[in-house]
Structures are given as C-alpha cells and as structure tokens.
Amino acid sequence: MPWPAEEVVLSLEKITVEFDGFRAVNGMDLSLRKNEVHFLIGPNGAGKTTMLDVMCGKARPASGRILFRDRIDLSKKKEHQIAQLGIGRKFQAPSIFSELTVEENLALSLQKKKGVFSVLFARRKEEDARAIERMLSTIGLGEVSGRRAGGLSHGQKQWLEIGMLLIQEPAVVLLDEPVAGMTDAETEKTGELLRRISVDRCVLVVEHDMEFVRQFAGKVTIMHEGKLLMEGTMDEVQADARVAEVYLGKRRDADVVGAPA
C-alpha cells in the first residue's frame, strides 16, 4: 500500500464488542496514523460508533487489543484516564454543557490537571485566557463567547464541542458525524477545520455525507456488519464492487426512498 510511513498512534487489533451476545463489532482492525484525516464509513448499524466507543473507553471489547503509542493498553483504563492520555471524542449528538457559557465550556476543557484539589486551587493564567481567545476565533465563536452554550445554534454547538476537544491538544481526535445537521457553508468550514487540525495528530471521522468524505478524506475505512470491508483512498473505495453493493448501493436506495439516515 502506498501510505507514507507515518507513525501509528492508536492501533486496534481484532476488536470484538458484544451486546447481549450480539456482535456489534466482530474482529475489527484499525490503525490511526499521525497527520491523517481518516474516515470511517459504513451503513447504519455497521458498528462505527461502537468502534469510537471502544477507543475512548465507553464500550469494553470482549476481545482484542487497543494500543496507544505502541505500549499503553487502553482496555484497562477508565474513560477519564484515556481522555487525559490525549484521546478526545466528539459525540454524535452535540454534548456541551448548556448551562455554562461558551467560554466556560472551553475553560473547563482547557484545565490541565483535573483532580479535585488541583481544580479547587487552580488560578486562571494569562496564557489560558489567550488559548481560549485563540480557540474562539478558530471555531468562529468569538462573538458569542459570553452566551449560554444551550442557546447556540446546532452548528455552533458542534463547533464548540470540537473546540472543547482541540483546546486539550489531544493526540487523537474522534468525531462522530460532526457535520450532521450543518448547513453547506458550515460543513465546508468544518472540513477546512479538520484539515488544519490533522497536523501533528490523527483525526478519525465517522460520516455519512459522501460528498464530505470525498472532499476531505485521506484514508477511508469501510465497515460492514461489524467487520472491516476494505480500506483505501476514496477513489479505490468507490471503484470497489463490494462497497458499491453493501454501502453506496444501499445509500442510493435510501436516497430514492427519501429516508435520510
């Protein structure tokens, strides 16, 4: 495969996740490399979200290995420990703290030491204020920084959540359908943002919007029924007959019927 030999940051090997005996993910392999925008796609119920859940500790695999930086086994770590190692996750539904202001949401995420007593005696530093300022302009929410986050538009909430991830400067960014519900202009902006943030880290995006994938993907991994179907560039993926059958074909049908996923 012609992939540049970038460093593998997170690798999942033979991951299986079961829910009451049902295998949502079945022997799946996936490696995330630095400086890459990697898309994980597949039909509804393929197990994409579950894969993200495994990476951030929300779901525990029945078998398989998750290695961070080649040596840290994540399957034994708690969610907050995984987050502190530098694996950030954005959920499918925007999940921000709606009672806090936009700025407070970012400050909460920025805080480096997150133990009870560290936070209790934390002092707001000048550089923190600057980091927040910078992030506000990156995600385009400078104007609304004092606003209650719950009052933001859907797109703004998505960005705020992305900002909350990025401000922690994670090594791995996991995004579950980040452009769902966004306008075309917002989608475009988000894509640009993804490209910019992939410098020095790896970004994994789950997405249904094929136009968006085509535009911004580096590598594409296709999942089907909990298994790896294929991996390659968007062109390779689109040329593949199996993919057309299980995924693109299905999508087209769905579009004709008019049932959005």
């Binding site: 979200t49 951030c56 929300k58 708690k78 969610e79 907050h80 987050a83 502190q84 950030g88 996750r89 959920f91 499918q92 539904a93 999940s95 921000i96 703290f97 709606s98 009672e99 806090l100 407070e104 400050a107 909460l108 995420s109 805080q111 997150k114 133990g115 009870v116 936070v119 209790l120 934390a122 707001r124 909350m164 922690q168 579950d176």
Partner: protein, 369 residues
C-alpha cells in the same frame, strides 16, 4: 459604559444587602427575647444544613434525603460530651443505669473531651458520607437510586440508634445537659454566645460554599450536574467531585447538629429520621435551589413560619408546608428566591440574574451517542 455602570450598581446593591443581613444578625440579641433568640439560633443551625444541601443538590445534582443522619450524628457526638459533663466523673449517664449498664462503654470514652467530641461530630458524618459516596458514585449509582440509598441509610442508622437503648438513649435520645466547657447552658450570656457562634458558623459556611461554587471548581460541579458522562470524556473523574462535595456537605450538617444540640438541649432519633431529612430538602427547594442565599433564607423563613404558625395552628402547618412545596415544584423550579430574582430582573433589567446564581436543574439521565 452603561453596562459597566449597571455592574457596579449591582455590586453595590449586593454588598449592601450582605452587610444588612450581617448587621441584622449581629443586632438580633438586642430586640429579641431570650426565647426567640434561642429559636433563631436553632434556625441558623438549620441554615448551615441547607447550605450543604444546596451545594450537592442545587449545584452538583445530588439529591440526598438522608442529611438528617449527618446532622444527627453531629448532634449525638456533642450530646455525648454534654451528657458526660452533666453526669460527672465516675458516674454513668442516667439512661445507662436504667438499662443496667455497669461501666461506660469504650466508644463513649473519647467524648469526655470537648475538643474530641467537636472534631468527631464533624469528622464522623464526613467519614460516613465518604464511605457511602465511595460505594455509590464510583459505581455510577446516581439520581433516584442514590437518593433511595440515602433513605436506606436513615432507616439503618435510626433503627440502630433506637435498638441500642442502653448506649444511645433509645427513642428518648440524650438530654439533661448542664454545662459546656464549664459554662452553664442555662445562663443568658452563654445562650447569647451560642447564638453568635451559630451566626458565625452560618456566615463561615456560606463563605466556604461560595468559594466552592464559584470559579473553575464550581463550573466542574455544574458540569457534573448537567452532564457527568460528557465530563468523563474531557478527562475529569466525576465520582471524585461527587464524593468531595457530598463529604463537605455532610460535615456541614454535622456542624449544624452541634449547634442545634447546644441550643436546644436534646437530640433524639425522631430529629434525624426520614421526615426531618425530607424537611431539610424542602427548605432548599422552597428557598431556592442553586442559590446559596436562597437555601439559607429558605431554612430560616420556613422554620420561623413553622414555629409561628404551629404555636397557633399546629395542624395547619403541615398542610401549608406540603402545599407550598407543590406550588414551588410546579411553578417555581428555582424557589422563592428564584422568583424574587426574576421579579428583580424585570424591574432592574438584569439584577436578578446575577443573584440567582446557578440554574437549578435536576438531571435524571443523559445519553451520549
């Protein structure tokens, strides 16, 4: 410019309001009878409980219907000291003699010393809370399930207290105190002193709670309340925060118990049972969840009206309290203080918002997919 003026004005108004409250508390002994002053002192102790409850409920989203226990343990610890002080050296407390106990049980020994009793009356509730928190919050038991467990704790402790009559005084509780540190509890000047200590404790607890709910720490607490799952994926461990505030809150209830028993002169299981535990939460709900001032004021107001009304119409009070609770839950989620703040905001345009503090919202469940 206009904004800045408004902020400055608001600050001045709030500072003046605080000063007025402190001045009022300081002057109360001058125009209240001994009886009324003693009552007010008791209500101030209740105010301390309310602050701790608001800290966990209003700000962190943990509803405890078991704070009577923490209050009661604090009160019992001090009562044990007072009882031994009243009994005199070498003799046994009266209820022990009646039960045929011949020597002082080992766990009563430390309570010969005021300092030890005071320390334990705060530390024991904290320890118990920490234990309960350790086994629940870490296992992600929360919401209604946690609340039910706090009620179970009440049942267990109260049953234990009543059952061990020989060591705890049973249903009658512990009473018949005379002195504290050599001062007679009956003397008016000692009563005055206890009142001032209660007032200082309330102000101190208020400052402590305010320190906790403001700044970055307070934001984490609100985040625990509104989305603890999300918070986890930002690298925070919500269980540690829950354990911490729950423990602090229990310590405050224990302190309140000390102040209570010193001024009221008796503690019995019925004062820490299910009903008082629920009443404590009502003070906060009616006064104003998510606002420290509201919670403390709620405790004072409700207890003042309770003693006022139940002197004249004893039955009527229970109906009124129940009715008031329903009205508040249905129409005023932020309590009377929230209503006040809203009215203020309407008149002054924004004043109330700052005073209302955190937005009280009970989150039962959340889902992140």
């Amino acid at each position: 410019m206009l904004l800045k003026n408004a902020t400055v004005r608001r600050k001045i108004v709030i500072t003046l309001a605080y000063a007025a409250v402190v001045a009022l508390l300081a002057c109360a002994p001058m125009f209240l009878s001994d009886f009324r002053l003693n009552l007010l002192g008791k209500f101030l102790a209740y105010g301390v409980v309310a602050l701790g409850l608001d800290l966990i409920w209003g700000y962190t989203g943990i509803l405890s219907l078991g704070h009577g226990i923490f209050f009661g343990i604090g009160a019992y610890c001090m009562a044990m000291y007072l009882k031994l002080e009243a009994t005199g050296a070498g003799r046994l407390p009266d209820f022990m003699q009646w039960s045929g106990v011949t020597s002082l049980p080992w766990f009563w020994e430390p309570f010969r010393f005021f300092g030890v009793a005071l320390l334990l009356s705060v530390l024991l509730p904290m320890l118990l809370a920490l234990l309960l928190g350790f086994f629940t919050f870490r296992n992600r038991i929360r919401g209604v399930y946690f609340t039910i467990l706090t009620q179970a704790l009440v049942l267990i402790v109260v049953t234990l207290m009543i059952g061990q009559q020989a060591y705890t005084g049973g249903t009658n509780g512990i009473t018949g105190f005379r002195h504290v540190l050599g001062f007679s509890l009956a003397s008016p000047s000692v009563k005055n002193g206890l009142y001032y200590i209660s007032a200082a404790a309330l102000v101190g607890s208020f400052l402590l709670c305010r320190r906790l709910v403001r700044g970055p720490f307070g934001k984490v607490l609100q985040a625990v309340r509104d989305g603890q799952n999300r918070l986890r994926f930002l690298g925070y461990d919500p269980a540690k925060y829950q354990m911490f505030v729950f423990t602090v809150s229990a310590g405050l209830a224990g302190l309140a118990g000390v102040l209570f028993v010193l001024q009221v002169g008796i503690i019995s299981p019925s004062m820490m049972d299910i009903v008082p535990s629920i009443e404590m939460v009502l003070w906060v709900a009616i006064g104003g969840r998510g606002s420290l001032i509201g919670a403390a004021a709620g405790a004072l107001l409700i207890n003042a009206s309770k003693s006022g009304l139940s002197e004249t119409y004893p039955d009527f009070w229970t109906f009124l309290l129940g009715g008031l609770f329903i009205v508040v839950v249905v129409f005023l989620p932020k309590g009377l203080f929230g209503l006040l703040a809203r009215l203020g905001a309407r008149m002054k345009g924004g004043l109330g918002d700052a005073m209302a503090g955190g937005r009280g919202r009970a989150v039962v469940g959340e889902d992140h997919r």
